[in-house]
Amino acid sequence: MSSDRRDFLLTAGKLLVLTAPAAAYLEAMETGKAVEPAYKTAEHYWGMIVDVEKCIGCGNCVRACKTENDVPLEPYFFRTWVERYHVAGAAEHPDVDSPDGGFNGFPEKYAAGDGAKSFFVPKLCNQCAHSPCTQVCPVGATFESPDGAVLVDKTYCLGCRYCVQACPYGCRFIDPRTKTVDKCNLCYHRITKGLTTACCESCPTGARQLVDLKDPKDPVHEFLRTHKIQVLKPQLATGAKVFYNGLDGSVR
């Protein structure tokens, strides 16, 4: 009996000693996969410029995003989508529509010269610096990365949907295949390789531009100085980093 206990204690002691190196090994396995050493998170701070006055509502960004990021093709799952606004008067509620999120473009709906203003507004995750969605996550499965992208840890997400409700911009959805949350991550797999996002790559008019706020050579600084910039729902103080040029007050 006493020798049994002694054996048990010895084994337990050996196991305890083994956990530290095992943990280190697992961590190296986990963080070391497919990471290019050239990219340093501390040297970047990502955002985007959306020039409403250049958007033609072609839907290229919506299609490119779904292709690049394997977003389900059903017309209610979007990482990015385009809205059409039709504002008859300053005091009137705007008429907003987004057929299939703009995936197939926008069939003409309004008559020319009806006295209203009409325009397209591309929407995506605003990559907030003080995001409500990351604050409500109970397990730390979504977070603001050091380089300014709001990311999701799919292996850790419970699918509880708190963040879906917390996002004031409606940018999150539950992927029906994985039952975990998905959202625009600013094509994190592309921007960390020196590429631009899929939506910016396929936008024909340059209405969307990926910007690196920490890069002094990025033309964004000049653009922000010389244009009248707004973010969506500034009263919420989310620290949104998608900057809109030419944004109408009717856009929410």
């Binding site: 033609i56 490119a64 020319a112 992208a149 292996t155 590429l195 008019t205």
Partner: protein
């Protein structure tokens, strides 16, 4: 003092129990908390790498013009110079990596132009728009317009 020493067996037992509890907690913590949690903040540090592993499907225009120099020369300096190749030709990272593996997608010149240039009230006024009722005979647009640089005259 005497009394304390007399009861010390209780204390030793309690201390042992407490130590065992602490060790159990440390073991559970080591097992249950994911590796790298808390390195940058309240999340798993490895999640950053996880978000990077996906392979791009759009190669980017700089990759295209490395080989397609004739198209690059036609496209550069024209009115479509700001339009990326894959905006019309589709995602072609596979083709960029292994040119023989998949052929580049050639869009239909009767329909692809309307993706952008079909008239719509909501489009910016300075953007060139076509109403098929008065500027389209059902033929291919590239019969008259050069697709890579529409302002450089008709396609050759």
């Amino acid at each position: 003092m005497h009394r304390f020493l007399k009861d010390k067996e209780h204390l030793v037992r309690m201390a042992a129990l407490f130590a065992a509890g602490a060790i159990l907690f440390l073991i559970l913590q080591a097992v249950l908390v994911p590796k790298g949690f808390g390195v940058y903040g309240h999340y798993r540090a490895g999640a950053l790498a996880d978000n990077r592993v996906r392979a791009p499907r759009f190669a980017g225009r700089t990759a295209c013009v490395e080989c397609h120099t004739d198209e690059r020369d036609a496209w550069k300096g024209g009115k479509h110079a700001g339009v990326g190749c894959e905006a019309c030709h589709g995602a072609l990272a596979k083709h960029a990596e292994e040119p023989s593996a998949s052929n580049a997608f050639k869009p239909d010149p009767k329909t692809i132009c309307f993706t952008c240039h079909l008239a719509n009230v909501a489009k910016p006024k300075n953007f060139p728009q076509i109403d098929p009722k008065n500027h389209f005979d059902g033929g291919a647009c590239d019969g008259c317009h050069s697709t890579h640089a529409p302002d450089k005259g008709p396609a050759k």
